[in-house]
């Protein structure tokens, strides 16, 4: 009577990056032969071997005959099916390889290189990461690891400010999304998953993919071309009253004749300027208006600057703060310090998916003192500084207050004229 032994090998194929694995579903089956009726195997009674008696790749198939297992790529290994307790049997196993692929905005990413479609993601663009290429499973537990600097949740920083932050809890979703705030060169997004299959088996598998994240190469340079003056040469001097002001932007003047206080010049690196915007925080401001009798009104505050701020032109933004010099007052001061952010919001086919992310900021300040002398209002002293210019930032500006021309600041009255 013939006896025979067989060894079957599985070749997992693919490029064997160290530590890289693919998911395999191995379908097993075996038929056992009992006592042959004569000297050949022809006509030997046969029975199906229960799956629970089979072993392949050191695993026992589930009730559906499947073994789910993560295996390294490009590795040969024994895949001989063993029917435990049976002497003569005909067994086989058919493997199916599943290579999980990380997709970013539906672009399949490659674990080794940045594919063409993954080279032009922009900061601020909504990035939806998911994984494809998996078989059906019952449920899963997973955790994403994303490279670089990103936020993935909007939240109410204050009643007047919505901001963004990183919430690591969201990285446990099967699909996760985020907005990048900084560039990534060939960064790797990865997901580790524990898949639970209908036959009760669990497999841990990982997938990864490389992508680039582009951050616009821009400059945001702060200058202060304007002068601090006391006169009526100011756009808000609508009735001819004098102002203590830092530069001006008169509506009727051509741009080359303007004299803004602080000017933030954008070099957009060839990008469309409409993708950029600015946002200015008033770090602090204070003004006082003193009458001759010593009665003094104090104004102060901080928050997002929302008044008379910054008209957008093709390549620069400006601010020209100032304080009125009303009749009946003899001494006026105005002091402010500011951070002016350059924000970038990429065009996005998904409406509302992109957000404006900070790229740069400028810090600057000014101050001026005007006194009503016998000859009229006169600039007594002044200062101006750009303390930080063209500074990269990935920190979202936040505020708890909005300062307008008429609100968002505190007003007190006393006799303490400084």
């Amino acid at each position: 009577m013939e006896d025979a032994h067989t060894e079957v090998d599985l070749f997992t194929g693919g490029k064997a990056g160290v530590g890289r694995q693919s998911l395999f579903g191995v379908s097993c089956g075996a038929t056992a032969y009992s006592q042959p009726p004569d000297e050949t195997w022809e006509g030997t009674p046969e029975n199906t071997v229960p799956y629970s008696a089979l072993t392949v790749l050191h695993k026992t198939p589930g009730s559906d005959g499947m073994v789910w297992i993560a295996l390294p790529d490009n590795a040969p290994m024994d895949m001989t099916v063993t029917a435990n307790g049976f002497h003569h049997y005909n067994a086989g196993a058919t493997p199916q390889k599943y290579t999980p692929v990380v997709t970013a905005n539906s672009v399949p990413l490659d674990p080794d290189i940045v594919v063409d479609g993954a080279t032009n993601f922009w900061v601020g663009q909504n990035m939806a990461f998911s994984v494809s290429g998996l078989p059906d499973y019952v449920d899963s537990v997973q955790h994403w690891t994303l490279p670089g600097n990103y936020v993935n949740e909007s939240y109410a920083y204050s009643s007047v400010c919505t901001s963004y932050r990183k919430n690591t809890d969201l990285l446990t979703n099967l699909s996760t999304s985020c907005w990048y705030v900084d560039k990534v060169d060939a960064g790797t997004a990865s997901i580790g998953m524990n898949l639970h299959f209908s036959n009760g088996q669990d497999v841990s598998i990982a997938a990864l993919g490389k992508f680039d994240m582009i951050k616009p190469k821009v400059s945001w340079v702060g200058t202060q071309p304007g002068t601090i003056a006391v006169d009526i040469n100011f756009e808000r001097s609508t009735s001819g009253e004098p102002w203590l002001h830092f530069g001006f932007w008169l509506p009727d003047n051509p741009p080359e004749s303007q004299d803004p206080g602080t000017k933030c010049t954008l070099d957009a690196g060839g990008l469309n300027g409409t993708l950029f915007s600015d946002l200015q925080l008033i770090t602090s401001f204070s003004s006082e208006f003193c009458k001759a009798n010593g009665q003094t009104t104090h104004l102060s505050g901080s928050g997002r600057d929302d008044s008379g701020l910054l008209a957008a032109y093709t390549n620069f933004y400006f601010d020209d703060p100032g304080a009125p010099l009303p009749a009946g007052y003899v001494h006026v001061t105005d002091t402010g310090s500011f951070q002016t952010f350059l924000m970038f919001k990429p065009a996005d086919s998904s409406s509302g998916a992109s957000i404006a992310v900070p790229l740069k900021f400028i810090a600057w300040d000014w101050s001026g003192v005007a006194d009503d002398l016998s000859s009229g209002w006169s600039l007594t002293s002044s200062s101006k500084h750009v303390t930080i210019s063209d500074q990269d930032t990935t920190t979202f500006p936040v505020w708890s207050n909005i300062v307008t021309q008429t609100s968002g600041y505190t007003t007190t009255t006393d006799t303490n004229c400084n």
Binding site: G19, L57, P72, A75, M79, N90, K97
Partner: protein
Amino acid sequence: MLNAFHFPSRLLAGNVAVANYFYRNAGTTNIDSDLLAELRQTTTYPPTSGYDDYGADTILYPCVQRDTDTPDLGYHYDPIDYLADGLTVEPGATLTLTNGAVLALTSTNITVGGTLNTGQQMTNVEVEEEQSAPFDVLIGGNASAAYTDADGNGLPDWWEQYYFGTNGLDPNASYDGNGNSLLYDYLNGVTTPNVIAFSIGAANEFVNVTNPSVQLNISSGWPSYYAVLINDSTTTNWLAYSSSNLTVNLGTTDGVYRVNIGLEGYSTNTPPVWSDYRFILDRIAPTVTITNPVIASGAATVIKPYLQLQGFAGEPLLGLSYDISNAMGIATNLDAFVTDQHFDTNAFDFTTNWFQAYDVPLTNGVNRLTLRVADRAGNVTVTNFNVTLDYTHATNPPVVTLIWPQDGMAVSGTNVTMRGTMSDETGTVAAQVVNGDGTTNMINGMVERNHMFWLENVPLNGTNQISVQAVDAAGNVTVTNFIVETNSLTLTIDSTPGGHDLYQPSGSVGGTVSYPSATVTVNGTTATVDAEANDDGTYDWTADDAPIYGQGTATFDAVANTSGGGGGASANASSAVEMGATWRVVKYHSTQHKDVYDPTGGAYWNYTTTYNAQIHAAGRNTYQGTDTADWDAGWFFHGQQKIDWSDSNPGTLTGDWWDEAEYTFTDEPIEDIGLPSFKSVPSANILGGDGLSDNYVFHYYADGVDYQAND
């Protein structure tokens, strides 16, 4: 104490009422009804041997068949179910004869210390027989009770007792092996209603205990007794059968044990049936040798952050796992795999098993590993050792070897894939490419476990200065600078084998070349270049049998050379195709060369493939066989046609003798076409007449796998 014996040959007075009476069921029911009724209370069967000493409560049922079916011809007798020399009912015991059972005694030696419930009568009789009366006492014997069916299942009690030794059977159950119900068997006079058939199963034929359990899978019959024989033992100890789960006692020494189990029924019509099972008692844990890393005094030091844990065991393995504990934490029950097995043709079993745990992640410092290896019997060997990752020992920069392209090579195409090897598979590789126009690109590559590195989609233009920087895990750097040119001779690779065909040794590769007289080779095989130009002015080339190289990724390197009108130029192109997963039989060993059945285990090959086969009569220098037999693929793969070994002149050959055949099929299930079978090879034609012993080996190469069949 029951001291009777089973299944004696039976003979009754006058040698008439015998078990295999010739005229049984040869009569007719078309007779007088009173006579028919009378016959049904008689029998043509002899009594069974009864016990003469009853020490425990016992109920005797009728067990001799009354002629209740088609009447027998010939003499009919009053039924006697049990025949004994005397009767003793021990004190405290009760003997009950019920349902018309009859006990005949050949003496008047009756001692009833306990209770005797006949239910009927006890008489001294003079048997009206031709010979002298053999019976002195008849106990019981209400003839009409032969029809008693106390359990109401349609089967007379005597019939159930006779064949199965019990009452209350399910009349719809079948124990005759033919699927007929008990009621059918009774009504049709089937004399073999209890035919036992069974097989033996066990959780594992390899065991590490001397008393393994077996399961009897009874496909037919109602066993009443069982016996177990181990190896060559012959003493049969029949025991009452009560469960299909048995424990068998093997010997005290490790080795092969053949377990024979017999089952038999209650009636002599159910003779013993035997089935066997083989256990391999193995109580020795596998011997394990770890080859990588090299361990000395329980520890090893490495310079790479991923370990390929490799080793071998001296026997087949059924379980492999490892744990690792390091600064990152503890991970347990991680998978390791058998990568190859050695087949010992003398033992006719697999022996050495090589194994590997792939890509074991290490951290700086000490990593504690525990390797568990289990053999087929469940014996486990646990090996503990420490692996220290220490980069300070990595003093040499990585060794880098370029494979394609080579320095100075003229390459066709604007984006190519470069490949080579580096000694540290856990390191990184990148290339800086400065094109002829000054454009500079940085390309990150990947390194495979087998040390192959790939730099994909490398842009080329003009004369390209390429600098490959390989960095090992310790930070040592090797920079390899070379130049790749492009020229006007274009060469493309447009088609290669795909899918599972990439695992074939060769395949068809095609592309174009810009010069018609160019000589194109692919992986060393010369291609055929079409003389007719394409619309774009190129010329197609094809190599039908180009070797397929690579492991996990197939590579095709093409070279075009021109001379004369082509200006003596050359161009190179390469294509790398990632291979999917596949499987194949890598070893098949048969004790006979004549029956090579389905070595893939019944699975389907659902792709196009080509088989190459050879028969190699190794070590022989003379043959009476043909040396040029042209194997027919149809014969070879359908196994029906016989190779014509006699059509040529039997010759005397020198040295090894080979022949080969090739067959290609597409998308056919292997069951339908069968694998190449040697069963129709007339071995005598190969080896006869040379006076040498039959020691040749058939080699069958399928998909690069060597199947061997020894004579």
